[in-house]
Structures are given as C-alpha cells and as structure tokens.
Symmetry: C2
Subunit: 367 residues, 2 copies
C-alpha cells in the first residue's frame, strides 16, 4: 500500500473520484461509507445555471461548462457538451495519481454472501498489483490470495507489468447497445463472476466508463472520451473510443489493463430509442474502427503517452478521415486535448508560475 494511505481508505490522498452528472447526487448516500474519505471531482453536464446538490459531508469540487470554458479557453472545444464524455475534463484537472470514475446511476452491489462490495477498494487492489498481458493464466489473477501462476507459465513473465487500468463490471442492467436492448429488454446480469483478469496484449475490449479506475500518471493523457453529444454525429462511444486508444497505447508501452471485479449495481436502463439515435453511426463505424485499432502500430520513438496519442491522432486522420469527416474533427480534438492536458499538467521540467492556470479560484468547492 502506498504511503499516506490508511487501511480504511487506501490511497486517500492520491485518488480523485470523477463523477459526470446532470442531477443532484443523491446516489452518493449509498456510497458514503466508501467514498466519503476521498475527494470528488464533479463535472456538471449541460445547463451550467442549474444547481447540483451534493449530499453533506463530501469533499468535492464541481465544474460546470462555464468553468471548463474559462479554464481551457479555446481548447474547451475538445470537451464534449451534453454528454457524459465531459467526465474526462475531471481527469485533466485532477492532480492526483489515480482516478476512479462512476456514474450517478451506479449503486453498491452485493457479493454472493450478501455483503456490500467496496468497488473502490477492489479497483485499488487491481491497480496496485501487476498485470500479465503476455500469457494467459487459467487461474486468472495470479497475485490474488489463494491463486498463483499455473504449470507452464514462464517464470520470466511472473513479475508482470504495471497496471494502468482497472475496468469494473456491472450487475443488473447489462451494458447493451440499443439493438440488443430492444431485442432483450428484460435481460438482467445476475452472474457474479469472481475473477479479475488481464486483457491480453493485442486484444481489444469494450471499455465502459461507468466503473473504471486508472493510473493517471501512467495513462491519463490517453483517457480522452472524444467528441460526443451536442453538435456531434455520435454518442455512447466515448468510453469505447478511450478504451481502444488506451489499449493500443498500453500494449505499445508495456502497461497492463485488467477487467472483472469489482461489480457495481447498474440501476437504470437508458431509453433504447434515444440510444439508437446516438449510436447508429457508431454501430456502423465501429466495423471500420476495430480493424483500424487492431492494426495500429506505434513507432519506437513514441515513448510517452502524449507522443503515442498524437501519433494515433495522425493515424486517425489519415485512415479514418475517409470513413467520415467527423474523424478529422476528432483527430484535431485529440491534439487539442493533449495540448490542454499538458497546459494543466506541466511536467517538472516545464513548470513556470505563469503557465499554471488559476484553477483553484474557479469552481464551487464543497466542505
């Protein structure tokens, strides 16, 4: 466990919880035993004049669209509006090493014994233990109590690699696309699969943004949720886009991505007709996107996440621009995102007092 953590709230001073929302955050009541020790970054989506109520006792900062515009200036164009993709502004403004992000329709799930699941604690375990992207272990997470590497697992690979991302799952309402929602309106996920595993190198997966933790220092700049929602021809692909970009970059840099535990309880089925309207371009385009990401190769010179991401933006423009002009716009936004990230997160070498934005005066502060 890292320094400064207490056993009750591990990484308390090193982790921010990012929540995108358009409504009062009553859902936090249920999470109080687990989240209250942590700092929250709330990104208010939509109408900035609306007041968002946060339950008493939580330590938070809240950013609405006016804050985003003021802090990023012209670069605010890379942050989606009227879409939960705006959450990635919270990743950028954070100064912590770790991020956990969750949606306001996610509740505490119970494990098979009936005990409330502390999702954040499991994510932290996932992030602080290594990942094994180069060879599949049939007992799943080899670092877990009661498990190990099985016969035939090369010893040279048993130290694993640093874990950059921990992707949690959801019980109850499954994370289906609109067509599947329409076909199976009553399907619920009741299966608690007691496993955490590393997504192998070279394999893509559908990353959902509603129960996700990552190491900002290792992979933060790749966690851009794209241009979605208001004024864009696509929605509900923000987390997918981030997941595919992130995975290609993790594979290139030798970082690990895990999926599995912890579960949260997903309470609200979104409207499949609304979703279909948001998704239909994505459903069509993903047939081109997946082969693109599967074959994307980054040159050796890309030694930082930023360099990887900028290279990927070039490849997006070169290869996906012909799929739809939207991808040219997205490629430009990817560049703007990196510029904004670097502005808000100057490296030790480049820090100068004038370069640091006066963020602390901006947003509404809780507590």
């Amino acid at each position: 466990m890292a320094e400064g953590s207490s056993s009750a709230a591990p990484l308390k001073d090193e982790l921010d919880i990012v929540i995108p929302t358009i409504r009062n955050l009553d859902f936090l009541e249920m999470w109080r035993p687990f989240f209250q020790p942590y700092h929250l970054i709330i990104v208010q989506d939509g109408d900035p004049s609306k007041a968002i109520k946060v339950p008493e006792g939580f330590d938070y900062e809240l950013y609405n669209r006016n804050d985003v515009n003021r802090i990023l200036g012209p670069k605010a164009s890379c942050i989606s509006f009227k879409d939960s993709a705006c959450r990635c502004f919270g990743y950028m403004i954070s100064k912590k090493k770790y991020i956990y992000t969750i949606d306001d329709d996610c509740f505490v799930a119970k494990d098979p014994s009936g005990k409330d699941i502390n999702a954040l604690e499991q994510h932290i375990k996932n992030l602080l233990s290594p990942a094994t992207p180069y060879f599949f272990n049939t007992l799943y997470d080899p670092y877990r109590d009661g498990a190990d590497f099985v016969r035939g697992y090369p010893f040279s690979l048993r130290e694993g690699v640093s874990t950059a991302v921990s992707h949690g799952l959801w019980l109850n309402i499954p994370d289906y696309d609109a067509p599947t929602q329409l076909v199976k309106p009553l399907e619920r996920n009741k299966r608690y699969v007691d496993a955490v595993m590393t997504i192998p190198k070279g394999t893509l997966f559908p990353m959902c943004g509603m129960n996700l933790a990552f190491d900002r220092e290792l992979i933060g700049p790749a966690m851009y949720f794209g241009l979605m929602g208001d004024g864009q021809p696509i929605g509900r692909y923000d987390d997918m886009w981030a997941g595919w970009c992130m995975k290609v970059i993790c594979d290139h840099l030798g970082l690990g991505v895990k999926t599995g535990l912890p579960y949260i309880w997903h309470s609200k089925a979104s409207n499949p007709f609304v979703n279909l309207k948001k998704e239909y371009n994505g459903i069509f385009w993903q047939e081109e996107l997946i082969p693109f990401f599967q074959s994307a190769a980054l040159p050796k010179e890309c030694t930082t996440v930023q360099k990887c991401y900028l290279e990927l933006s070039k490849q997006v423009k070169a290869k996906l621009g012909k799929v739809d002009p939207y991808f040219n716009k997205l490629a430009d936004a990817m560049v703007t995102w990196i510029e904004a990230w670097d502005e808000l997160n100057p490296t030790a070498a480049s820090v100068a007092p004038a370069a640091a934005p006066a963020v602390s005066n901006g947003p509404a502060k809780g507590k």
Copy 2:
C-alpha cells in the same frame, strides 16, 4: 444438439472419453451417472502385463503398450511410454468427432449450490457454441443464457467462429509446477469462477490435459502430446506442448479455444520432488518455447491441421534444435505422429480396404 444425441447424454454416439492410466479405474464409479452412456478409450501406461480393472457396466476398449506397438508398428515411437502423454494414442485411434480426456485422479466437483457438476455436459456446450477470439467480451461467453455481447462489440464478429477446444479447470489441488508446489504445499483452489471465455487470438495459455475436450475433426492432428517420460529428458510438458502447437494452429485456421467451466475436483497432489526432476528442463526450455510459439507464423498454403503441424515441426527443428537436440527428435516425432494419424484416419478420398488397420481385433473390449 447434433443428431443421434439424447438430452440425457448429448453426443453419445459422437464422443469418446480417453483415459490414460496405470491403475484400476475405480474413479469411474463417481463418474458413472455422467460417463456410462459414453464409450471409453483407455490407454494403459507402463507395464502391459498388468491387468487394469474397469468397473462393471462401462463400454470401453483398452490399449496397452503391446497394442500400440502392434497397431502403429515402427511409428509407435511417437507415443510416449511411462507418461500420461500416451493418452494421445486414444485421440488417434478414436473414430468419433469429439474427444473428452480426463485423468484417474479427477473426481466430480460440486458447484456453489452443492450440486454435482456434469463436466462432460458443459464441455459439450462449450464445443457446440461458437467462440470469439477476435475481441474480448466483458460479460464473458456471449452465447450463454443471460448474457450477450456488450455495447461496442462489432456486429460483424457476433457470429463467432467454430470452437475446436474446451479447456476445463480444477478445484482443490491446483495445477502448479514443482517449484510452486514446494513453496505453497497447502494451497488449494477454492474459487469457483462462473465463466467460460475464449482465449483471444494471438494469446498463449497453459493447457492442462486432465479435463479437456476437443473436436477431433477440427483439430485432432494437432493434439499430439509429444515425447515425454521414459527415455526422454522431460515430463509434465506433454499437455503444454500440445496446447501451444494447437493454439498457434487454431489462430491460423480461425478456430476458437475456450477456457473456464467446467470444474473437476483434483484429488491428488503429485510429488513435487519427482515433478521437479521431470520438469526442470521444461522450466528452462519454456523461456525459449514461448517466444518461439508467440512469433510462429504459418504460411497461407497451410490449409489443413496436418499441413500446419508439419510446417510447425520444420520450424521446431530449425529454431529449437539449437536449444537442445531433444527438439530435433521431437520434430521428427511430430512428423511420425501425423503419418500415423493419417494411416489410422484415412480421408474419404484415400480410403482403401488394405489401408485400414485391423484395430478391432486388437485391444481388450469391455461389455
């Protein structure tokens, strides 16, 4: 469900159960409710003069070393002696479409509700439903009741590919190598992970031979368990070798490999000191083997399992021969194995009465 199956014993006439053994098969009593409808192929390891007792009521044929020598003639050299690797003779002599193989120290496990697990039934489900090697599904097997493909899963990949192999797992004694056994003598696997998943394309895994099912028509000739045991410098890598060869070939041919359910109960911890003696070369060599298999590429002309396997044998000789002369011998045995397979399994085009060996007179028959 395929024709000729009853719901009580699916694929009854299309599946053989292959069991390598050196002792009386009392363990079958526990499996009687599940195995009795099926035909067993017992491959007796070691001293052929020893009589193996099979419980009453099972339909079986039994082959000892004398049978193997008589049936294969000089080609019998490719079948290991005094090692459970001899089980692959059973794969070769079978005339059925599917094989299930299990060891005599494997018992019936219980699911979390306390119910006996019908391992064979689950393997058949795994084999008869498609696999998804090209993209990871975070709800695991998308074809299972109550699950599906999640948002972001390309629709063009949702039909999956044919499943060639179903790799089951084990509760209780974990399948550890000797060093891990020595370090953790008391560790037991108590975690029932309720999932079946496809091993992604390009990812290798440690395949264990003690609870394994496969489609003989799709992948049989790749299921060679190598030269192990008596007179060989290595043991306990028979199933690993088969798994790595098989996976490279499945990836090349577009076939699927699943791991996960069903569990069996592994009752007997083998002696770690004996295992260390068998394994030490393998532990050393696997550091070279894994990069070899990870980078092995098969040319387009390899359109059948046999062609793939013969090509792989050439690459083994060319690239692993310098690791140890053993691999030259193994590469030759791989060729012999394919010759023997083709002799016992003539294709429709090549069938001639004289080519079919008089197997039916050979082995001891049950019932």
